[in-house]
């Protein structure tokens, strides 16, 4: 599932981030979430959501061709990954993380954040291919 956001609806609860790490890493650890929420306070009182828009820069950066596109979504083939982490550095939105085992991780399009966001601030991009 490709994501889109309506930042003006976000209330900063971070539910998306907690469910993200439970789903992807089996842990309650929002610092490892594959999307980020930034509150801009005291002014102008808005939230920014950094999320993977499947731009593919990570795939371009990978020297091993370990990140492959399928239906508009990029996924990491961990059999090919050599842990160089060039992909993580290349992510323009800084929404890739390094796992405890030293592997890169990116949004898998699982859609849990979309299902659980109480504000419908993270949404499925229905216009995108493969969603």
């Amino acid at each position: 599932m490709k994501l889109k956001v309506k930042e003006e609806q976000c209330s900063g609860c971070n539910v998306c981030r907690v469910v993200c790490t439970l789903q992807n890493f089996g842990a309650v650890q929002p610092s490892q979430a594959l999307l980020r929420i930034k509150g801009r306070f005291p002014e102008p009182g808005t939230y920014q959501i950094a999320y993977c828009n499947q731009c593919g820069d990570c795939a371009d950066a990978c020297p091993e061709d370990a990140i492959k596109e399928k239906n508009g979504e990029y996924n990491i083939d961990y059999d090919l990954c050599t842990q160089c982490l060039l992909c993580v550095d290349s992510c323009p939105l800084e929404v890739m993380v390094v796992t405890e085992a030293g592997y890169p991780a990116k949004c898998t399009g699982c859609g849990k954040c979309v299902k659980l966001c109480p504000r419908q601030a993270v949404l499925a991009d229905r216009d995108a291919r493969g969603s």
């Binding site: 003006e8 309650v28 509150g39 306070f41 659980l116 109480p118």
Partner: protein
């Protein structure tokens, strides 16, 4: 392994700058759960009788609960406590936001501060790295300003607590601020931080919290959110947040107005939840894990000043709007903003200011005493008094110690206008036709605070309806006289259920406001912690904590007992001036009977002191 908990307690001696880390004792977790339970037990064990609440021997405990930081509704709460400089007894307060969850991700269930730093400092907890650095630059700076400064310096991931000038100057109702609009407001824990020279505490937590069965806990957590989404109040209550009760509080004659001279404000429709949406709102803003964000972040513009501000929530509307008679929502919001920057609890501050204005109106204070003429309904006068208080200047030096102490200093019959219990100012519900709510305020461990028991709905409707149902039903005609019968049991039961949320580290509003069922907490607790404990068993723990905080007051307040449990004379002698409860008050003998019954049911003697067998039953001796 203590699943659900971070597993460690961080103890910092500010005098030496040294810290130590110990395991969270299993027994403490089993007998007191967390949050408020940890605060009460640790303070009881650590604080010697006879110490100065504003001296280095006081202790500050900041505690999360077993459910804080997990995937479940309202898991963002943190509890704070110390020997209260406002009451001299047990003091605690709670806030939402993101601090507590991040303290747990950093590895700590609880933070204990002893001693005092030798100069104004910021404490930084960056996972396992603990640092204390001098903070001269932030001296005298507003609480929100200071938070912004630290966020810019340390980084966005840090969650920050700050105090304002009021805390630095040890105003006994100074509040701790966090997340640009969340406060641990009550009982003056921020003044204790100020006395310890702590301007700010920043935490970054990058780790995880161990969960017994992560897959099942995730599934249950997801289900809990979906249950919240399905409640009618999810859609009807959330847009207005706590301010949604303003109209109802007026319809039933419970809205403190003109320093509680009356319980109805004819301008209430101008300062309610709708007014916030129409005239202030920029965004809804919630705590960590919240499905129903009650924070209404907005922008206010007045003749006195303009500002971005979170709120006002209901309590601030009641005390700054009702009690000080600020008739426009922009004015209430601006006074709220001034309190937030100065680091003053809006509840106590509003009541103290309205007390001073009534004293002036009744001739107890002259213009010379007050520094100028002051009147109800003037934002300029409210801001003037708030600034004097925070700086402890002129009349503010006396008002900074709260209405009880100020009335003793002003004399002239002013104790009649001092609306408090145990030295803590009354929060936003007038009770002269609400015996259950009155008893709730009288017997709350920290003083006149509504969060321990909110029996007003029961006084009005004789039912357990949640707040969105009460609002939906309205007053339903003229107010009948509310009988004291059956109220004692209801108050006792609420004094266990409401503080239990503070013990678990979660928000109670999903239950209280939109009817989310408690069985879910019981179920998720088992999956997270790997042990079963029923809600009923948790309520027993909450009762144990209630007994402990009472005993804390007996231990620390000289002569503590029954005489500390009465409301101000105004509520027992003076008829309500106007509105739905015009002419009513509750005679002292009715309250005496309720107290007798309450003490007996609590296992306390006729002076309100826990009997030895009661303490033994709860394993407190």
């Amino acid at each position: 392994m203590l699943y659900g908990y971070a597993g460690k307690i961080l103890k910092i001696d500010l005098s030496s700058g040294k810290h130590s880390i110990e395991n969270t004792p299993q027994k403490l977790a089993e007998e007191y759960l967390g949050g408020r339970g940890f605060v009460a037990r640790l303070l009881y064990d650590m604080i010697e009788p006879g110490i100065d609440p504003l001296g280095p021997k006081n202790v500050v405990v900041i505690a999360t609960g077993p459910l804080s930081g997990h995937l479940l509704p309202g898991s963002g709460k943190t509890h704070f406590g110390a020997l209260s400089p406002a009451t001299g007894g047990y003091g605690d307060s709670n806030l939402g936001g993101h601090f507590g969850p991040n303290l747990k991700y950093a590895g700590y269930d609880c933070l204990i501060l002893t001693g005092a730093a030798d100069r104004l400092s910021t404490l930084v907890i960056d996972n396992d790295k603990i640092e204390i650095f001098a903070e001269d630059k932030l001296q005298g700076r507003g609480a929100i300003e200071a938070e912004k400064d630290l966020k810019d310096r340390l980084g966005e991931e840090f969650q920050i607590l700050t105090i304002g000038p009021a805390g630095e100057n040890r105003v006994v109702y100074a509040c701790i601020s966090h997340d640009f609009g969340r406060q641990a407001g009550r009982t003056g824990v921020a003044a204790v931080l100020g006395s310890k020279n702590i301007k700010a505490i920043a935490v970054r937590g990058s780790g995880n919290i161990p969960v017994f069965n992560p897959k099942a806990a995730q599934k249950k957590g997801e289900e809990m959110y979906k249950v919240c989404f399905s409640k009618p109040g999810f859609k009807t209550w959330t847009p207005y947040g706590t301010a949604s009760i303003t109209g109802w509080a007026n319809e039933v004659g419970a809205f403190p107005t003109r320093n509680f001279q009356t319980s109805y404000a004819d301008f209430h429709h101008k300062i309610n939840g709708q007014a916030i949406i129409d005239r202030l709102l920029v965004t809804d803003k919630g705590c960590f894990g919240c499905p129903t964000p009650c924070g209404k972040y907005g922008y206010t513009k007045t003749a006195v000043g303009s500002a971005y501000v979170e709120g006002p929530e209901y309590e601030s509307i009641a005390t700054l709007g009702g009690s000080c008679c600020l008739e426009e929502i922009e004015e209430v919001a601006y006074a709220n903003y001034v309190c937030d920057q100065l680091g003053l609890d809006t509840i106590s501050a509003g009541v103290v200011v309205s007390f001073a204005i009534e004293c002036f109106e009744k001739g107890v204070l002259s213009a010379e005493d007050a520094g100028r003429e002051i009147s109800f309904g003037s934002l300029e006068d409210v801001v003037y008094l708030l600034e004097k208080i925070a700086a402890r200047e002129g009349i503010g030096a006396i008002l900074a110690d709260g209405v009880k102490t100020a009335a003793a200093a002003f004399e002239g019959g002013s104790e009649k206008y001092a609306i408090h219990v145990k030295g803590l100012e009354w929060s936003g519900y007038e009770c002269r036709n609400a015996p259950g709510m009155m008893l709730s305020y009288m017997t709350a461990d920290v003083g006149a605070h509504h969060n321990r028991s909110w029996a007003l709905g029961y006084d009005v409707s004789q039912s357990d309806a949640d707040v969105s149902e009460l609002i939906e039903a309205g007053a339903g005609g003229p107010m009948e006289i509310s009988s004291p019968d059956g109220k004692v049991d209801h108050v006792i039961s609420m004094q266990h259920s409401r503080p239990l949320y503070d013990t678990l580290g979660i928000c109670r509003l999903q239950t209280m406001e939109i009817g989310f069922e408690t069985i879910h907490y019981e179920e998720v607790f088992e999956l997270i912690a790997g042990r079963k404990i029923t809600w009923q068993e948790m309520l027993f723990i909450s009762e144990r904590i209630w007994q402990l905080t009472r005993q804390f007051n007996v231990k620390h307040i000289e002569g503590f007992g029954r005489s500390w449990d009465y409301p101000p004379e105004r509520f027992m002698e003076e008829p309500v001036a106007s509105g739905p409860n015009k002419g009513r008050f509750i005679e002292r003998k009715i309250l005496d009977n309720m107290l007798d019954e309450y003490y007996e049911k609590r296992g306390w003697d006729e002076n309100g002191v826990p009997k030895p067998e009661t303490l033994a039953y709860f394993r407190l001796v």
